[in-house]
């Protein structure tokens, strides 16, 4: 684990707030707009079905991309051609231009989103309008979106790391907020595998263990704030729950057929995963290694904690979610079925008990993935804690 292990210096607790620079505010607003637009768009497709370029959901996504991309573009131009010595000194060079690393990451994400548009259009013409979230052009679009959000996270992190000890409270929170958006993006991209009806199967836990520990451990390791992973998960849950609670308030009807479920309000996203519970353990275990080297043994320990807690929570929570007890505005389990889905008892059952059971083998795979994910998170978190530009 020598390559993974890095020493993170113990850092003083920061309590005072610092104002966010305009470009970071724009990046966070853009990231928020993108993720809200994405959830809105998915709900739109599940409720109304038919869309145009000009749907409000699309506008929210594009507005987010434009806001973040243009802000970072302007920042890069200013830093390159009119930046002060301090601004240029706090930037990295990219093909002769200068800007903070986070800005370049955002610009790359905006171009990736742009590239996905003609590819997605061609894709629809070649293979039919895709009704699944995961397709190659959607993955490129998703990569662009998540890259913009990672860019915002990097920007907040660099500013936090440069802030004098005892300052940067707002920057620290901005970093965790951006991480919460990244978690929401990741959770959204794996929606097709994370219905509560999947939560007694093996694949869901394998995917979750591969995806989430990386971000949770990384943020816990890189943030100056204690309980960073927990706070990021709280932001994730807050954003996700807001969409679960707000979207179904709006009346809407399908404009495509066949309509097998006669929805009359916007379909809700899935109730968020209770990542906040294993995140507490991640924070606790990462704090134990604060200022010390962390290795694969720590990664394994974190992975075990993550898997055990996540499994325990989701196993029982999913039983609630698929039951009639969750048919209410809070959990909205009766409101996340799209218009074209055929009603049936499967909605209240766990899926694929024969083909995807939770076995020792699948738990072993999940643990291995969680270990790799956690180890990578420790390594990346250590690196991120040093980001200055």
């Amino acid at each position: 684990m020598e390559s993974v292990v890095e020493t993170v210096a113990a850092r003083p607790r920061v309590e005072t707030a610092a104002a966010l620079p305009w470009y970071l505010t724009a990046m966070l607003a853009g990231s928020t707009s993108i993720v809200i637009g994405l959830l809105w768009d998915i709900s739109w497709h599940m409720t109304i079905g038919r869309d145009t370029f000009w749907t409000p959901a699309h506008m929210a996504i594009y507005l987010g991309g434009v806001l973040a991309g243009v802000s970072c573009g302007a920042l890069a131009l200013k830093t390159t051609f009119a930046g002060t010595a301090a601004e240029r000194g706090a930037s990295v060079s990219f093909w002769g231009f200068r800007a903070p690393l986070g800005a370049w990451v955002v610009i790359w994400g905006a171009f990736a989103m742009l590239t996905s548009a003609p590819l997605d259009d061609w894709w629809h013409n070649a293979y039919g309008l895709d009704v699944e979230i995961l397709s190659p052009p959607h993955s490129l679009l998703g990569a662009g979106m998540i890259t913009i959000q990672i860019g915002a996270m990097l920007m907040a992190l660099a500013l936090q790391n440069r802030a004098p000890a005892g300052e940067g409270r707002a920057l620290g929170l901005a970093h965790l907020y951006a991480t919460g958006i990244v978690l929401l993006m990741a959770a959204t991209l794996i929606t097709e595998y994370s219905y509560p009806n999947h939560h007694h199967g093996g694949l869901f836990y394998e995917i979750a263990c591969g995806v989430f520990p990386l971000t949770l451990v990384s943020v816990a390791r890189s943030s100056r704030r204690r309980w960073a992973a927990t706070t990021a998960c709280a932001f994730y849950m807050l954003l996700a729950c807001s969409m679960v609670w707000i979207l179904p308030l709006f009346p809407a009807h399908p404009k495509l057929g066949p309509i097998n479920t006669p929805v009359d309000h916007m379909v809700a996203p899935l109730f968020p995963l209770l990542l906040i519970v294993p995140a507490l353990a991640v924070d606790f275990l990462v704090q134990r290694r604060e200022g010390k080297r962390a290795g694969w043994r720590d990664a394994l320990l974190i992975a075990v904690a993550f898997l055990v807690l996540f499994l325990a929570v989701q196993w029982f929570f999913s039983e609630l979610l698929i039951s009639p007890a969750a048919h209410n505005w809070f959990f909205a389990s009766d409101r996340h079925w799209e218009y074209s889905s055929t009603p049936g008892p499967y909605r209240h059952q766990f899926w694929h008990p024969d083909t995807d059971p939770l076995t020792l083998r699948s738990l072993g795979i999940a643990l291995a993935l969680a270990t790799v994910s956690s180890g990578t998170g420790l390594w990346r978190g250590s690196g991120l804690s040093k980001v200055q530009r």
């Binding site: 079905g49 370029f53 990219f94 690393l101 790359w108 742009l114 039919g128 009807h253 309509i259």
Partner: protein, 497 residues
Amino acid sequence: MSDRLLRPLVAVAMLLAAALPAGAHVGSPNVFYDGSAGPYPVRVIVRPPVVIPGLAEITVKLGDAKADEVTVQPIQWQAGTKGAPPPDVAAPVPGAPGVWSAQLWLMIGSSYGVRVHVKGPAGVGEVLVPVTAVPSRVLEMKQGLGVVLAALGLFLFAGAVTLVVSGVRESALPPGEVPDERQRTRARMAGIVAAVLFALALWGGRSWWDSVKARARENLYKPFHVTSAARLAAGKPILALTIEDERTRDWSPLMPDHGKLMHLFLLREPGLDAFAHLHPVRQDPNRFVAALPPLPAGTYRLYADVVHESGFAQTLVDKVTLPAAPVAGAQAATEVPPDPDDSWRAVEPLAPRAVLGPKVAMLAGGGTLLWHQEPLAVNREVTLRFEARDPEGRPLPLEPYMGMLSHAVITRNDGQVFVHLHPMGTINMAAQESFAAKAGMAGMPGMPGMDHAGQAPASTVSFPYEFPQPGRYRIWVQVKSGGQVRTGVFDAEVGKP
């Protein structure tokens, strides 16, 4: 992202809203209906999408009739009217009085009924036009778009690698500090690793893309696989056709169209000089037999039109060799009587070049058929109008032949286009009745039935059609007069517009 970046997205949205071409029958995808919607005479043209889900283009032509509103609504077979989306309002086409157009999303591969509703001074009228929505083509990327996307991909790849290099080289340095050679070397190494990882990701994406493409090709619609052979039954030649396809277990049963379960056409290769329109009877669920008329020996293209209870119409395709004397070894004991509506005709082979001037075909049994030909071109909507005359040149009174005033078969010389149509268009009448019954529209004014009693005798028939591809075509037009089916044969050259 600035306006510069938004512009391509706007263009993409406009492309998304653009029409897509369609697929069904054999190479003749567009659906035509000539008839009425209540008090309104209508011609409805549906151009189904080639991919599913995809957009169908709907055109409703009302002629001189005035209308205040025209709506169209897709009714999928299983979902019925209850599961149909709300109707879409068609827009009047500027500069084309009486023409309305709309687009409809067809979301699953299935049979649909497009309900056309017309409201105007004469009241309201409705008609259902059956459409079969199937994926029929996988689009290949044009070189120009491929180059643009490859350039963008390269830009993103280079940008991503540069991000890693820049990040490793400088991002952890205190502000103002210049990276030393060790950091530069480390950054270069990281860039190489990143390039390999990104290349692997691209390779994975390519594999994913290939699998989607392979699945799309696999899902392209193919009619049921059939085999056919000429046999002897009780010493008389018969044609035996067997459907050998596992999908028959899942699909709904066949239902009669014009009173027959199957309309089978034989066209002799290569000159298309012999033609038969037969109606095999079913011996068991997947086996059909028909008495063979006295056709010249040779290899024949076989097209068998069937329709399922779901309204899904198929044209089954095979080739069969008719020997001068059918094989005696596979003789069946039971005689297969010919269907009274069977008909056949042998004529001159398809001419090597298009024949110009008046188009007159001699009808077997006496009389002529005159084609009032409009200029033909690919994808140009035409009305194929034929006038029947007796040997003295007087109008020949026509009688219904299997419920229709006329039947026509159009095929291209290479067999890549085949369609069986009627004066009411290319639609399948049984499917239309089936959808109408499901939608509660059976018996309403404007819905066609099998009974043509009471119609004034006519001597002219017309067919709405659009030739889908350029090439040499042969057209067989069948009418009935004096109790005898008479077939006229025409050739046509269709060029690009």
